[in-house]
């Protein structure tokens, strides 16, 4: 970070000023002119937190996508379908057992096994043929979408969180002051906070795994130079399998999270595929910190967009993508 400040002093200053303004906007009691300008503080804070938690969900989906891409050069356009499958599996498990928490390992395992099958049966046969692999994933996603529509129909499913998570969380953030002088504090759904913290924990764990363990070293070496790694005798097929399973499993977990936040329904696969595409394009392909930054940016853009410019919220995210592509094609955190 100091390195960045030394190299780009102006940008660092701009970012610092923006961060300071943001902190002030979060903690201070808003003066009336600001309320007149952009509306109530409560709306702003809700959009901010929704954006951050949505970013956590996007990160879960996109980090698996970017990991698979970084190692295997395989743009897995069936990633959205894996997400949706995880959602359905999680829903069925939560309904069956009655335990919301059980849905996560169930979705992870089922979708990871499915990912292993994909890698063994499909992708290993066409290694090194990037375009063909990508086309195959399109075919798989078409078939999976239709099979899931067949199995679960077009209904919306909602995975309900357990009662100990369903209440609101009293935060220490002041949203307004009543006439009487009492301060109004922001209430925020506890489940979103918990899930966001879990996403952060998964992200940190992934970072530690990649940067502090031997397996992580193998994966990073594979990202840099696949052929050289296999020439040194590492069993790269096993690494591929593990990464594919893990990335797919993450998508499955994200499906359960998405089913709790919003709902599981046909069409969500495309939505989350697009979200992860945009996230990794913005963040930089194959980079986990990039996926985190991109997910945060896109989540915030979507939520603020839907509050402050409702008609063009979706377009805003794509504008960000186009801007990044035009000025930094390798992505914000990507290496050229």
């Amino acid at each position: 970070m100091t390195d960045f400040a030394r190299r780009h002093p102006v940008w660092a200053a701009v970012i610092a000023i923006l961060a300071a303004i943001l902190v002030w906007m979060i903690f201070a009691l808003w003066p009336s002119w600001l309320v007149d300008l952009i509306g109530k503080k409560k709306v702003f804070l809700n959009a901010l937190f929704n954006g951050i938690t949505l970013g956590g969900l996007y990160f879960l989906v996109a980090s698996g996508f970017t990991l698979i891409f970084g190692l295997m050069r395989n743009v897995n356009l069936a990633h959205g379908s894996l997400y949706l499958l995880g959602g359905y599996v999680g829903y069925e498990f939560a309904e069956l057992t009655g335990y919301w928490l059980l849905a996560f390992p169930a979705a992870f395992i089922v979708v990871a096994v499915f990912g292993i099958l994909l890698q063994l049966v499909v992708f290993r046969r066409m290694e090194g043929q990037d375009l063909r692999q990508t086309l195959v994933t399109i075919g798989i996603s078409i078939i999976m979408a239709d099979l899931m529509l067949w199995g679960w129909g077009g209904d919306f499913y909602n995975i309900s969180a357990p009662s100990w998570l369903s209440g609101p969380l009293e935060t220490i953030l002041v949203t307004a002051q009543k006439r009487s002088g009492d301060l109004v504090y922001l209430k925020y759904p506890l489940v979103r906070v918990v899930i966001f913290l879990a996403a952060v924990a998964i992200g940190v764990a992934m970072w530690l795994l990649l940067n502090r363990t031997k397996i992580g070293m193998l994966i990073r070496a594979g990202v840099d130079d696949r052929d050289m790694l296999s020439a040194t005798g590492a069993r790269i097929q096993l690494v591929f399998l593990a990464v594919f399973a893990f990335g797919a499993g993450l998508a499955g977990i994200a499906g359960v999270v998405g089913g709790t936040f919003q709902s599981v329904a046909p069409g969500e696969d495309i939505r989350f595929l697009l979200a992860s595409l945009v996230v990794v394009i913005v963040g930089g392909m194959g980079s986990i910190p990039g996926a985190a930054l991109g997910a945060l940016l896109i989540g915030l853009a979507e939520q603020f967009g839907s509050v402050y410019m409702p008609t063009y919220a979706v377009v805003l995210t794509f504008l960000i993508m186009v801007g990044v592509l035009a000025f930094r094609p390798q992505g914000l955190m990507g290496r050229s």
Partner: protein
């Protein structure tokens, strides 16, 4: 459709001293004749719905084949560019939504539509060529999605979810161009023209340079070719084909809405191009024909088999997967391989000619 042959009996096998008419291979005469007398053979539904749609989708996919086959760039934005073309005709020309449509005459509206669609395609290309290979698919898919959502949300220009209806072709020469036979010839004309132009360009200096850029961009750039400019120009040309296709598509269904240029149709165009084959311009038309036949008759076939007709997507997906799995060059590739096998000497196993 196997009568087309790109390599040997094609235009490549030209001998000196023949007039250009004699150099046209016999297959072209046969297919051309059959296509020309088709209105005498087929019913109205076949002409308008099956063949008209085939030619339109083939024309849009032809642009993708040009990009992918000669330029090595697979773009999923072709359908969005076609959508822009259709929308612009509806906006500048005449439609039932007369609060938005400007109602300009066709000879103004159509050129404007083509130019705007080409500008959009060029801009897409300019963004997409900053990345390579599989990245291009991701970026063009994102652009296609952006256009879909924008058109759906925007009510000032694109009339939101419902889009435009009542977009009809002009009554030129006193002919109703939406009549089955007239529309058949209209689409046939543009499809044939597009096919021939792509064939011509593939052998013109620009097309050869583009294929060089596909095979080895660094060497081409060392030879003094502007790699980026060639790629962007390829996008511009492909978007012209898409725009013509988009206008015809709008006329065929007399309406345009965001769903026309959604993510599903964008992927369908890729499916069509891949099923047909990306090595020769006839591929997209073969692919489009198969797609249209499946889309029109698969529901009946599925119902008679006892399955629900909604499983059409499954059928398309499996067909696509099978083709990609076993023959990356699509139907054309299958045909080529079959012929190679037939020519091969059963004893020595060597091919009839060439490597």
């Amino acid at each position: 459709m196997s009568v087309f042959d790109p390599t040997e009996t094609g235009l490549a096998a030209r001998s000196e001293g023949q007039s250009w008419l004699e150099r046209i291979p016999i297959a072209y005469w046969v297919v051309g004749l059959v296509l020309l007398i088709m209105p005498a053979l087929a019913g109205d539904f076949m002409l308008f719905q099956i063949f008209g749609w085939t030619f339109i989708l083939g024309l849009i996919a032809l642009g993708l084949m040009f990009l992918g086959g000669y330029g090595g760039m697979v773009s999923l934005a072709q359908m969005s560019i076609a959508g822009v073309g259709g929308y612009m005709v509806a906006i500048f020309g005449v439609s039932a939504i007369d609060t938005i449509s400007l109602g300009w005459p066709w000879y103004v509206a159509i050129p404007i539509a083509l130019v705007i669609a080409m500008l959009f395609g060029t801009l897409t290309g300019w963004l997409a060529v900053r990345t390579e290979g599989i990245y291009t698919i991701m970026i063009t898919l994102a652009i296609a999605a952006a256009f879909f959502y924008f058109a759906r949300q925007n009510y000032v220009m694109f009339n939101g979810f419902s889009g435009f209806n009542g977009v009809l072709p002009p009554m030129l020469f006193g002919v109703d161009w939406r009549g089955p036979a007239a529309f058949y010839y209209l689409t046939l004309f543009w499809a044939a023209l597009g096919y021939l132009v792509v064939l011509y360009i593939s052998r013109a200096p620009f097309g050869l340079a583009l294929q060089g850029v596909r095979d080895n961009p660094r060497r081409m750039s060392a030879l003094g070719y502007n790699v980026t400019a060639h790629r962007v120009a390829a996008y511009t040309f492909a978007s012209l084909l898409a725009a013509i296709g988009g206008i015809l598509l709008t006329w065929q269904s007399a309406q345009i809405s965001p769903g026309t240029a959604g993510i599903g149709p964008a992927i369908d165009i890729l499916v069509i191009a891949v099923i047909g084959g990306m090595r020769h311009p006839v591929g997209p038309f073969i692919g489009a024909f198969i797609y249209v036949i499946l889309k029109t008759y698969a529901i009946d076939a599925l119902v008679t088999l006892g399955l629900s007709g909604e499983r059409f997507q499954l059928l398309i997906g499996i067909a696509f997967l099978v083709i990609v799995f076993w023959s990356p060059d699509g139907i054309i590739g299958l045909w080529d391989r079959l012929r190679e096998n037939r020519k091969r000497d059963p004893l020595t196993g060597r091919g009839g000619e060439g490597p």
